[in-house]
């Protein structure tokens, strides 16, 4: 069996979550790698949308910023930043949005603003919201991707930058948020999904060799385990080969 890294496992798992023909709002880093891996393999008609305004970008290397020239040059359409948010994201046209996080809580609320209880005296000042609040509100569904650690999977986030399920069931409806909210948190240990009853994220899948107790130890709330807990298959050699080819191509692109 081929060796692979935890990040590769995460990326492959995220790629598998995308179906052909979907429209996908992509950020840079792991989400972009996952989306492009899906496009290279099982979802050739996946439509990649970047907040820079590129719709239907078809990069053959992994872009290093959301505004790389390759995105504009390969897109079906390039629109302004106001348009991408107002005409394309806001009305709920986009099937799935990928979000990262510095902290995520049991209801899938995301913090990318400040670490520490006092906004004005932050322990760590993070980059802030970017496109995330409206991606979280308006994409038909959201997939959150981040490494699972006790300090990032917290009972309650220090600051709600982007709303998952708010305070629990019914919150999204009360707030008038159009999309279904986060349907998966894909980590380096496994996959969490929201309980339909409590809206709390529970463990539904683990990677080969990962113990449930490992995942629970890295979670800041009392992580429940689904009755249908699955072991997620390791990356196929073809998946790994495709991902590594993409990454090699983009490393080359940088040198050039």
């Amino acid at each position: 069996m081929t060796e692979y890294t935890a990040d590769e496992m995460m990326t492959v798992t995220a790629a598998r979550a995308l179906r052909d023909g979907m429209t996908c709002f992509v950020g840079i880093g792991l989400p972009s790698a996952a989306a492009n891996l899906a496009r290279a393999r099982h979802a050739p008609n996946l439509v990649l949308i970047y907040e820079s305004g590129t719709i239907g970008a078809k990069p053959d290397t992994l872009p290093l910023s959301i505004g790389d020239g390759i995105l504009a040059l390969t897109a079906d359409a390039v629109v302004s930043v106001p348009e991408i948010f107002n005409y394309w994201l806001q009305p709920g046209r986009i099937d799935v949005g990928f979000l990262g996080a510095a902290q995520v809580d049991r209801f899938g609320n995301i913090n990318t603003t400040v670490i520490g209880p006092d906004y004005d005296q932050p322990k760590v000042r993070l980059p802030g919201a970017g496109g995330a609040p409206e991606i979280a509100a308006s994409c038909r569904e959201v997939i959150i991707v981040l490494r699972q650690r006790e300090r990032t999977f917290v009972d309650s986030v220090d600051f709600i930058t982007s709303v998952g399920f708010g305070a629990g069931p019914g919150s999204r409806q009360r707030l008038g948020l159009g999309g279904a909210g986060p349907q998966k948190i894909i980590t380096d240990l496994g996959v969490l999904q929201p309980s339909p009853h409590t809206a709390e994220f529970v463990l539904t899948g683990v990677y080969p060799g990962v113990l449930v107790s490992d995942v629970q130890r890295q979670t800041g709330w009392d992580l429940q385990v689904s009755a249908e807990l699955a072991e997620i298959p390791a990356p196929l050699p073809e998946e790994l080969a495709a991902l590594r080819a993409l990454q090699a191509a983009s490393a080359e692109g940088t040198e050039a």
Binding site: S52, T54, S65, D68, G130, G166, L175, G176
Partner: protein
Amino acid sequence: MAEIVSLAEAIERTVNDGDTVAMEGFTHLIPHAAGHEVIRQRRRRLILVRMTPDIIYDQMIGAGCASKLVFSWGGNPGVGSLHRFRDAVENSWPAPLELEEHSHAGMANRYVAGASGLPFAVLRGYRGTGLASRGAGIADISCPFTGEKLTAVSALRPDVAVIHAQQADLAGNVQLWGITGVQKEAVLAAQRSVVTVEEIVDTLEPRPGGIVLPGWAISYVAEAKGGAHPSYALGYSVRDNDFYLAWDQISRDRATFSRWLDEHVLGATPSGARQVSSARPGAVR
């Protein structure tokens, strides 16, 4: 009608201490040369507005130009933190930095409102977030037809907008193409505007994906070849990804940053073109 002047003159005539200044460019066409000129002219107490205050504003904040930042995402794209921004927020170095924080959709709509001569814009956004409860320029609004609750954001009307574009013609008409971001809105929202360009041509040839800002809607045009570096100008240059990586090291501590600033900005000539090559990471350490 836009006046075609040198970059130094354009900044001198438009940017005053205490002004609200929006320098836009979404990854592509970031007006770095103009930012360096503002640093060289030692402007102070600026209210800096920008959706993505990346390296350019990290430099301006570290150089002490800013007292407030209006923004939606302050990171080094694909790399990590902006250390000068964090140092200002976390430790008030070199000066305290007040924050007015929005989402991208909110900022984009604030520019749209400004460009449209409206005092506010409406969007589906912010609801349930910490931004809504903190935010200056964020308010609830009800639809007068359906009663639905939405969010209003106040218009941005900067004193000055600065952008970089590929070309201007002799009449000061400007064309940019590729990812065009929110630059048109920023220029139209502002009282005064400066457009730096890769080159001034006799006549603009319409390009696929190109947008044209007529010269009569712009205050000043200045040639600044390579003026987007380390960002890029589609058709003229490529993004210097290595510089973004190098910036993480340069900016991490105050002394290294200050040396870099002295050497590559304050000590440089006021031409966008020349300082670009010397600012390449190879030359840095």
